[in-house]
Amino acid sequence: MSMRHHSNNANGLRRDKRRAKRICNLLSRWHTLPPEAFFWATLTIEGTLLPHTLTREGSLLNTEFTHSTKKGRHPREESVTGSLPSLVAALGAGLLPHIPHLNPWIPMWCIGFWGYAALSETRRWPLPRMVFRTGLTLLGFAGVFLSTGGIIDNTFGASLLCVMAGLKTLEIRRERDLFITIFIAYFMVLSSLFFSASLPMTLYMVGAMIHITAILLRLHCPGVPLKDAFKVSGAITGTAIPLTLVLFFFFPRIQGNLFGITPRPTATSGFSDTLSPGSVSRLARSDAPVFRVTFDGPIPPADERYFRGIVFQTFNGKTWRSASQPPAGAFIEATASPVSYEMIFETKNTDRFFPLDLPLAIPKVTGIRADYTLKKPTGGLKGTAYRFQSATAYHTGPWTPWEALFTLTPKGTNPRSRALARQWRAEATGPEEIVEKALRYLETHDFLYTLTPPTLSGQRVDQFLFDTRRGYCEHYASAFTFLMRAAGIPARIVGGYLGGTINPFGDYLIVRQADAHAWTEVWLDGKGWVRVDPTSVVAPDRVSRGAGFGLPEIDRPSFFLGDRASFLARGIDRLRLGWDAINYQWDSQVIGYSDTLQDDFLKKLGISSRHWTGWLKATLWGLAFCALIVSLAWLAVEWRGRKRKPRVQASWRLFQRKLEKQGLTRHAATGPHDFLERIKKEQPHLYPEARTITRLYVAITYGREGATHEKQGELKRAVARFNPKKLHPRKQGWKAGV
């Protein structure tokens, strides 16, 4: 059957090929979609398409209603009247976290339409016709396209969702629309997590969930008082959180992508591919964190914490560039025991890896290049933890022809520097001595380490070395590399970060933009590439103590804490570090939760995820935890409803126990009133108080108002006060005496 199909269906085969090609094209287009394209697709189905199918239905009904009602051409059913203000409140909670990254017209658009929709009911404003609504939809789409520049990314998706949320309120007609609108609100909250999943944002998400869910409850069951709606919603969310965590930590994580759809790397700010005076000092004024490092062993000293990011190759007299792609693969021989550590990158502040100099073991998603930098990760840098191993002392491999790149200097530039280099070369016996001489020169000629150097022009290296002598690390690295190359020693500039702040609360290292640094490497025969940091001779504190040290006071960034920082500033800094530690835990344990962390977690439970039985065990564990949480929640829910009556009953029983001691026992068949009569007859001195208690009890148990909180309290207090022993019966003798 299949044979025949193959042999006589050449046309079909060609057609199949065409079809396969088309599918491939489609898939390749998928690859270019942003990471959250899948979500946005879901959102679009819910948020955009559904409203439009409804629009069509709505318009059908419109024609029926046009003549019958003057209120609007798009009448609302009775079940949705009065619901718009609450819907707007729900949507508002969704819009709020988006405001910072949306174009300002979008929040205005939303608020405008929401306001109109909310007021249209009481003011009897007309609701727009379908044609008009379609026009608004197109206008919204166009606006989003224009304001995002047509780039399909998170911002585009969020903008579209918010624009649709604005329009949706104009077509609330049936109960189903309410449900869909609540869904849109949920999605708005979810989508804000794509921008930032920090701890505060996640807490906001939980709060917003309670808020929106309470509104959903009120819309579904309008009889529920607002306070109760929030209580129930809060209780449900509260009990859902432990369950969420169990699902979260037990749900199997896989490495790589499920459907093979890889996200596109996102553009970020940070180190650029070029270095010219000013490019590193720009970063130095920002305290935004770039990455955090947890070392397996002790944290290496500050002057060994060089985090390598980029190597600059060529110089044109003005700018250093990393123009050509170095070949893959590199040789490193560690001369000390390697350091293992985990890094979590702030994806909005960097898009490349910054391993400790030099990396021995690197994550699978990247590869090492001949200049010992790492390739940008496939699929973009993620917020999860990456494991590295580095050698802080090393030898690099033999000279490769590719490295001839690091000997070039622009011809005819900076003659004075060249002359100086030539002079050193003539005097020195070997390259080490030339390096020595250059460092000595920088040390002894009144160079100043500053963030605000005078601007350079023309022969920039000459000007810096002989005239201004003021600069930041990039000036020193640039000048030093130029001198070395002019003296015939291969040299290059390395860009990265140096130092970082140790967070005492979490025992990890925070590296901020302010720690950005540029240093140099020279190639020495027999040793390979050797790191030389010219800044270390100008501002030794910068290297040994960290960013900010070594700078003149006026230059220090505002967030820098020097030795003379006030007690208050130190306190605030500790608070900030504590907060950072909490966030770091959150980012590394929750947002950065991955298959490797899950392996560790399961190992703690004694489960190995290597084998399918391990997964079965893990599933059973997860299910057991879920069952436990659900049954506890069930018990809590069951118990809460019953708490009310027992409180009254407990008071009533206590009252009877007190009377039993006086010889008054109520038979099960005796009602409270009959019992009171007996008390009156047998122990009349107890009657007044017993009457109060009995009346309260009867009112609570059988009365219209039922068991109000106040009455229960009143009964409890009355019974507690009631002490038959202290109430003495009137003396018989006295009575007899009368």
Partner: protein
């Protein structure tokens, strides 16, 4: 197909003995399933989980799992909302076959307020209401009737979609109650037999006497307007009703033998019509059907009418 399935499912759910009021719903087997909205919700959550798996997006996981967990936890509230109610009383009207039989079902919320409680019989109109804490709310729900006789209502469904409408919980109750359905009246010329104890017993075709004026009696609510003595009223002497009687003035028998229809059921329906007619006319009447003879009672006695109708309804 789905109808058959539903019927089978209902039979399965409704098994077990009939129970009399009060019925605490806690003691009845309680069911819960997602609604359409719930299914949509589940679909969206699944899509979110799939997306999060693809991108290893933990924020997406957190959100999707939180939504799923909240839906799951809401089921506890859903079933609790229904379970804490008690069906405290059941009352029903009388009905003729083909009419709707109305039930008054009173539900009491023993503890907290209960919301969005729907009550109704299978495939019948449902009433949805809230039951405030400690109060009793009566739901008036119909049940269609088809044939005369005793009838035991099946499949009373009490349900609730509180709090979010994602899940619907329900109980199926078989109330232990007997509902009597009278035959559906079918018009027939008025034929009566004389009271066999006083008259000759021969069937005579007589129109109910409208020309034989008997007396004026004080107006009672429900008297037909054309019987009101308008002249007396106009003279300002109060509202009086004219009463008439048939020629004989004595009781008549509505008799099985006088209806000449081959179908037994049709005969019963005609007899039902005649009883109602006689009752409305204010005639003293009795009923004679094979095996049962009900002696005439005073006119317009509702108990008597119902006795006659019951005998007809219960005829084997």
């Amino acid at each position: 197909m789905s109808g058959v399935l539903r019927h089978a499912a209902l039979k399965f759910w409704a098994r077990g003995p009939r129970r009399g009021v009060p019925i605490p719903l806690r003691s009845v087997r309680i069911y819960i399933l997602p609604t359409h909205q719930g299914a949509l919700f589940a679909g969206v959550v699944l899509a979110m989980v799939a997306g999060s798996m693809n991108y290893n997006d933990n924020a997406g996981f957190l959100f999707a799992f939180l939504l799923a967990a909240m839906a799951l936890m809401s089921t506890l509230y859903t079933q609790k909302n229904l379970k804490e109610l008690t069906l405290v009383s059941e009352k029903h009207d009388l009905a003729f076959a083909g009419d709707r039989l109305w039930f008054d079902l009173a539900l009491k919320a023993n503890t907290a307020s209960r919301y969005k409680i729907s009550v109704g019989f299978q495939d019948e109109e449902r009433i949805t209401r809230d039951v405030p804490s400690g109060e009793t709310v009566t739901f008036r729900v119909p049940h269609a009737t088809e044939k005369r006789g005793l009838f035991h209502p099946e499949g009373l469904i009490l349900s609730s979609t509180y709090p979010f409408g994602l899940f619907r919980t329900w109980v199926v109750i078989r109330i232990n109650t007997d509902c009597l359905v009278f035959p559906k009246p079918l018009t027939h010329p008025f034929v009566v037999a004389q009271d066999p104890s006083t008259g000759d017993g021969t069937g005579e075709l007589k129109r109910p006497g409208t020309d034989d004026f008997k007396e004026l009696r004080p107006y009672q609510p429900g008297d037909p307007t054309h019987r009101i003595a308008w002249k007396t009223l106009a003279r300002g002497q109060g509202v009086w009703t004219k009463t008439f009687e048939a020629d004989h003035g004595s009781a008549v028998f509505i008799s099985w033998g006088h209806i000449h229809t081959p179908s037994r059921e049709t005969k019963i329906r005609h007899l039902c019509h005649l009883i109602l007619e006689a009752h409305q006319q204010g005639l003293p009447y009795g009923l004679m059907v094979p095996g049962i003879t009900i002696k005439p009672a005073e006119p317009r006695n509702i108990a008597h009418r119902d006795r006659c109708l019951t005998s007809l309804a219960m005829m084997a």
